[in-house]
Amino acid sequence: MMVTYLDFERPIAELEKKVEELKHTTSTRNVDIRSETKKIETKIKKMQKDIYTTLTPLQRVQLSRHASRPYTLDYIENIFTDFQELCGDRKYNNDPAIVGGLARLGNETVMIVGNQKGRTTTEKLHRNFGMAHPEGYRKAHRLYELAERFKKPIITFIDTPGAYPGISSEERGIAEAIATNLQRMIELKVPVIAVVIGEGGSGGALALGVSNRVLMLEYSTYSVISPEACSSILFRDASKSDYAAEVLKVTSKDMLKFGIVDEIVPEPEGGAHKDHKVAGKLLKKALAKNLEELKKYSIAELLENRYDKFRKIGSFKQS
């Protein structure tokens, strides 16, 4: 995997490179070198902490889209066993921008549905940069209903810039596909957990997000519009994305404060891309806990819980 760095990661990356070089080029007998290595490692720790505690909202947005960040299939590999992918909407196509299938979380069989981005250029094109067409949402819909019929809990992974804005998407009814999923998800007679793992972009994200529990990874974002698009609409130029990211309030902390998400799932130091395995482990723990809790709910309680959760979201005055 090609390693890429964001601007604010560079100073850390350079020090990390130095440590690697010291470790490789010298014999470990050399005490000076060893203490030098230790010194740099302490420095990295401190620098990382300084940088990550003062991240700007736009930097967080960049982290949520980090090219090395784990995607849905990475989490599936690191969290579940026996994953069996299920394909197609039975109507038109199989959209690779949304993946789904059966898997086991511990002893529990669950249905997984998630947005999928690509890592290499070829994969990116294949996955359409994680931007699904109507057939992707219709596949999700089919898998939700399949899970419901066989009484399997549903876990969704959200990671998309948004539904695909193009002719093919519009002519096959992207609006209807999203709307239908929003409505069907509220009716599902099984536990539903949604996790925002990267970019939670607009309606294309929400179409996987109507759930009993919404979890959000520490450095993921959730927004009605991307900061870039917001900036170009409001200021007629995309250069104010930094400001837009700030004013839109898109971070996991904002979402927790607003009551949009129930829980923030911690990431490894420096972000999930630093260690996919640890990121998976942390998320697995949160998923297992929430699933255990939801299994105690009756069907009526699950439905009521989900309805009330979304029914009460809103901010207005009564004059």
């Binding site: 804005p165 509220i186 109507v210 901010s315």
Partner: protein
């Protein structure tokens, strides 16, 4: 697609009350380019008498067109938009809201309530495009969910006339979540066997289209209305292609199986009334 205040197009009647059009003024129809006497257009329900172009009309005009005279009772008028993000672009969101309230006496992008259509009761919603492009924020979402729940309580149907630029960007994630909230409420209505007729007027876009508006048991559109998820400008920027003629217009959606019918404004009340009568239990 998101709403943003743009320069008012020269011949766009959106949001102008009838009385504000000076007597004897002329209008140019954007479709047939004919210059027409404004009063003639008004008499014709704001439809071009030469080419049937449907001009945008505001919530009050729409209500007068659809509801039996004197039967409409507004509800949830007391709900007022809040500013949860303390949002500011070129102007503060609070100031925009204040200006709409003080200068135009407008509080919300939707008017909801109950009225009779040819003597049949229904819960009704009329979008007001001149209020921030009819965009859906917390108040719009709450009003829609509330009348849908009221409809269940009273065992009557719901009719919503959409005209919206989509989500209210200024309310960030709260506006996105209204898509889930309105769709959830309609799920309950559906279970009770009560009809929801969704009427899409120019323009119905973004998060409004991708939630309650496309969930109608029956979906009706006005001729030539723009109906889409991503707006034409966004698509053009993404794919850098010129869009086909008539793309995302009501006729295009009918052809692609996305809506049930296109109805001329002068047949709209009659059609809705007929549908409500035929769907009643």
């Amino acid at each position: 697609m998101f709403w943003i205040k743009r320069e008012r197009r020269k011949f766009n009647s959106a949001g102008k009350a009838k009385s504000t059009i000076p007597e004897g003024s002329w209008k140019k129809c954007p479709t047939c380019n004919q210059i027409i006497f404004s009063e003639e257009i008004q008499r014709n329900l704001m439809v071009c008498p030469k080419c049937e172009h449907h001009f945008r009309i505001n919530a009050t005009e729409r209500m007068e067109l659809i509801v039996d005279e004197g039967t409409f009772v507004e509800s949830y008028a007391e709900l007022e938009t809040d500013d949860p993000l303390n949002f500011k672009d070129i102007k503060k969101y609070k100031d925009r809201l204040k200006k709409l309230k003080e200068e135009k006496n407008k509080y919300s992008a939707i008017i909801v309530g109950e009225g009779k259509i040819n003597n049949r009761r229904a819960k009704l919603g009329f979008f007001e495009f001149s209020f921030m492009g009819g965009s859906m924020g917390s108040v719009v979402g709450e009003k829609i969910a509330s009348i849908v729940e009221d409809a269940i309580e009273d065992s009557i149907g719901v009719v919503i006339f959409s005209s919206s630029g989509g989500a209210r960007m200024q309310e960030g994630i709260f506006s996105l979540m209204q898509m889930a909230k309105t769709s959830a409420a309609l799920s309950k209505l559906k279970k009770c066997g009560l009809p929801f007729i969704s009427v899409l007027t120019d323009p119905t876009t973004g998060g409004v289209t991708a939630s309650f508006a496309m969930l109608g048991d029956i979906i009706v559109a006005e001729p030539c209305a723009l109906i889409c998820f991503a707006g034409p400008r966004v698509i053009e920027q993404t794919i850098r292609q010129t869009l086909p003629d008539g793309f995302q217009r009501a006729e295009y959606l009918l052809e692609h199986g996305m809506i049930d019918m296109i109805v001329h404004r002068n047949k709209l009340k009659e059609t809705i009334s007929k549908l409500l009568n035929m769907l009643k239990n």
